[in-house]
């Protein structure tokens, strides 16, 4: 780990991060923004789907007369299929978020 012949060795991303230099802050800021974008995207997907349900039920007169297996449609929609959907959204998010962390780890340890 000695300095190269041409003067002080340029610092690695890891050192920049550990010392909190402006460069390190840029690396970190990039990761935070990427994670926040992902979180907001997932939030938008979930919010758009579930958030529009009350409006849908409100604006669709007679929806309670539509039946599935003898159960009113709004009850069917709210009682079961949304829970697996939540798990799927969560799982997709978790994979992407872990992948972003992994990429960051690669960048930092690449010296």
């Amino acid at each position: 780990m000695s300095d190269g012949p041409g003067g002080p060795r340029p610092r690695s991303p890891r050192e920049e991060l550990a010392e909190g230099t402006p460069h390190g802050d840029v690396y970190l800021g990039r990761l935070i923004r990427a994670q926040l974008r992902l979180a907001l995207l997932a939030l938008g997907a979930f919010g758009g789907l579930v958030g529009s349900l009350p409006l849908l039920f409100l604006l669709w007169p007679g929806i309670e007369d539509v039946e599935l297996f003898g159960v009113p449609l709004p009850v069917v929609v709210l009682a079961a299929p949304l829970f697996p959907l939540i798990v799927v959204i969560g799982l997709l998010y978790q994979r992407r978020a872990d992948a972003l962390d992994e990429t960051f780890r690669d960048v930092v340890s690449h010296e």
């Binding site: 970190l28 979180a39 979930f46 579930v50 709004p74 949304l82 829970f83 872990d98």
Partner: protein, 576 residues
């Protein structure tokens, strides 16, 4: 009798696991966070076990029986709250490595004043949430063992205080995971058997609100020991203590004694309960009234954003070994909760057809406990009722002990430090800290138990809804802005939590005192999140932007929150 035995068995199992945990709880670090060595599945079951309270086990089915499909937003919001937690909070908070919410607030904003405010909010939310659990305990033990209300409250309060004081969190983690399975088994098995036994969903007209609930073919007998205000939705002829009487449609009466309704009579409903049918029952949203769009969206917002601010849930995320494990745990929690929440609606729908007497007494909260025996008189029904009683018992005890861990932690750790008592960590013996935690666990139970004893009239689900609204208006903005925005300052955080907390609690107090009509304004007061959450965020951002006093070391804090594990920074720092 069988039900009482089942409850005792569940309690014995919990105590046994708690005592087993004591042997493992040697140091304070064990007590607080169970050494962070518990696998994601154990953790997820423990989090779900802690989360599924009386409101989930009894309240959802009871509300569904009372208000129909509009009650189904509640479990959806309860589960989806973990999505918000997953997206914004789980991994960063775990990496940050603070033990409690006040710890996080002080470390992120480098201000002991924020810690004090956060500690006060923890105690308020914890108290709000603990009272309805104890209330549910009093009612359930009363219905199982025939004891007065106070016996159940005192017995469960003592049991929980003992478990927490002896086992701390290590014991509690295994107890909580065990309680999750008791609850899921207790609600799922009777529901499945009832559906099969009744031939799938039976073609009973009352089931999905096509007709008003009626007395069954052999008539309906309801013992009203106390005077009960009821309203007759339709014309009825009935007997009260043997005397024949009549009531017109829409008539209100006060009834007391032995009420006998002949077969096919539309049952009278307790005051405050709606005899809904058709569109009113099967539509999850209405243009006005208690299911108005403002109320539904406000409730969804409170539960979605409030979950991350429940102190007893967050502390559990520190038992994950790293940030990625915290994410994996949360996804498993979503699955476990989704499994549980499939079943309460079954009780709500069947209860409408099979236990109409609960409309007369207004006690729809106990439909989960009463339904098995109503559907299947005899030994089979009794066995199933024992399962639901055991599940309900698991619900109060698990949520209460989780809450008590955070209340005791806050009392023994945060409040003491701010009062200047905790000179320094160096002179603080682990034995002494553990003793303090134990005393705080016993002391922290006293006030909520006293309130629960005197607050029998307060509705379980209403109190729990308020706890969510408070959490969404205080800790949610603290986390979202503290984790994702460098600009948050201590003054901004305090002002925002105060503003959000005040707006939310004034709505709650106004509802308690004035009991406003179910207009849009009334709905806003009863569930104020849609107003109080934006106010909290706006105040926090606005005050922070004007505040010149930035917390020190924000960049380092951000690195601790968002930097993935395994970067090898520690070694570099130590060398440098």
């Amino acid at each position: 009798m069988i039900a009482a035995a089942a409850v005792v068995a569940v309690a014995a199992g919990a105590i046994g696991l708690g005592l087993w945990g004591v042997r493992l709880a040697r140091t304070t670090s064990d007590l607080y966070v169970a050494s962070r060595a518990i696998t994601p599945w154990w953790n997820a079951a423990a989090i779900s076990g802690e989360y599924l309270s009386a409101a989930s086990f009894l309240g959802i089915a009871g509300l569904g029986m009372k208000f129909g499909a509009s009650a189904l937003w509640l479990p959806l919001g309860f589960a989806a709250g973990y999505l918000a937690l997953l997206f914004f909070v789980a991994a960063p908070l775990r990496r940050f490595g603070a033990y409690t919410i006040p710890d996080f607030a002080e470390a992120r904003l480098s201000s002991p004043h924020v810690r004090l405010v956060a500690a006060a909010v923890v105690l308020t939310i914890g108290g709000f949430y603990l009272v309805p659990q104890l209330k549910g305990a009093g009612l359930t033990i009363g219905s199982v063992a025939g004891t007065p209300y106070w016996v159940g409250v005192v017995a469960v309060a003592a049991l929980v205080a003992l478990t927490v004081a002896l086992g701390g969190m290590r014991g509690v983690t295994y107890v909580q995971a065990y309680q999750y399975w008791v609850k899921t088994f207790g609600i799922a098995l009777p529901a499945c058997i009832l559906l099969v036994y009744l031939g799938g969903l039976p073609e009973r007209a009352a089931l999905f609100g096509r007709e008003l609930p009626k007395a069954p073919a052999d008539g309906l007998v309801v013992e009203l020991d106390d005077p009960q205000r009821v309203e007759f939705p339709a014309r009825a002829a009935f007997r009260l203590d043997g005397r024949p009487m009549r009531a017109e449609a829409g008539e209100k009466r006060v009834l007391e004694g032995r009420l006998v309704l002949p077969a096919g009579t539309v049952v009278p409903v307790a005051e405050g309960t709606d005899a809904e049918r058709g569109e009113d029952w099967a539509r999850p949203i209405e243009r006005s009234g208690p299911a108005s769009p403002v109320f539904v969206y406000s409730l969804l917002l409170a539960t979605f954003l409030g979950t991350m601010g429940l102190p007893h849930i967050l502390v559990r995320f520190y038992t994950n070994p790293d940030g990625s494990a915290a994410r994996r745990t949360t996804v498993r929690v979503l699955g476990l909760l989704g499994l549980f929440y499939l079943f309460p609606a079954v009780y709500a729908a069947l209860g409408r057809a099979l236990t109409p007497e609960l409309y007369v007494t207004g006690q729809t909260d106990s439909v989960v406990l009463e339904l098995p025996q109503a559907a299947w008189p005899g030994l089979g029904g009794e066995l199933l009722a024992a399962l639901t009683a055991a599940g309900a018992f698991a619900a109060f005890t698990s949520t209460s002990s989780g809450l008590l861990v955070s209340i005791a932690g806050t009392l023994s750790h945060d409040v003491r430090r701010v009062r200047g008592g905790g000179a320094s960590a160096a002179g603080d013996q682990p034995v002494e800290r553990m003793r303090r935690f134990r005393w705080a666990a016993v002391g922290g139970m006293v006030v909520p138990a006293l309130i629960a004893l005197s607050a029998r009239e307060l509705d379980i689900s209403v109190l729990v809804g308020w706890a969510f609204a408070l959490a969404a208006s205080t800790f949610c903005p603290l986390f979202l802005l503290g984790i994702w925005w460098r600009g948050l300052t201590a003054r901004g955080a305090i002002a925002g939590m105060a503003a959000g907390g005040l707006v939310a609690s004034s709505g709650i107090v106004a509802t308690l005192v004035a009991d406003p009509a179910p207009t849009t304004l009334g709905a806003l007061l009863a569930q104020p999140a849609v107003v109080s959450v934006p106010i909290a965020f706006a105040t926090m951002i606005g005050v922070s932007l004007r505040d010149s006093e930035r917390p020190v070391g924000t960049e380092e804090t951000m690195l601790a929150l968002h930097g993935p594990e395994g970067l090898g920074l520690e070694a570099l720092r130590a060398r440098g």
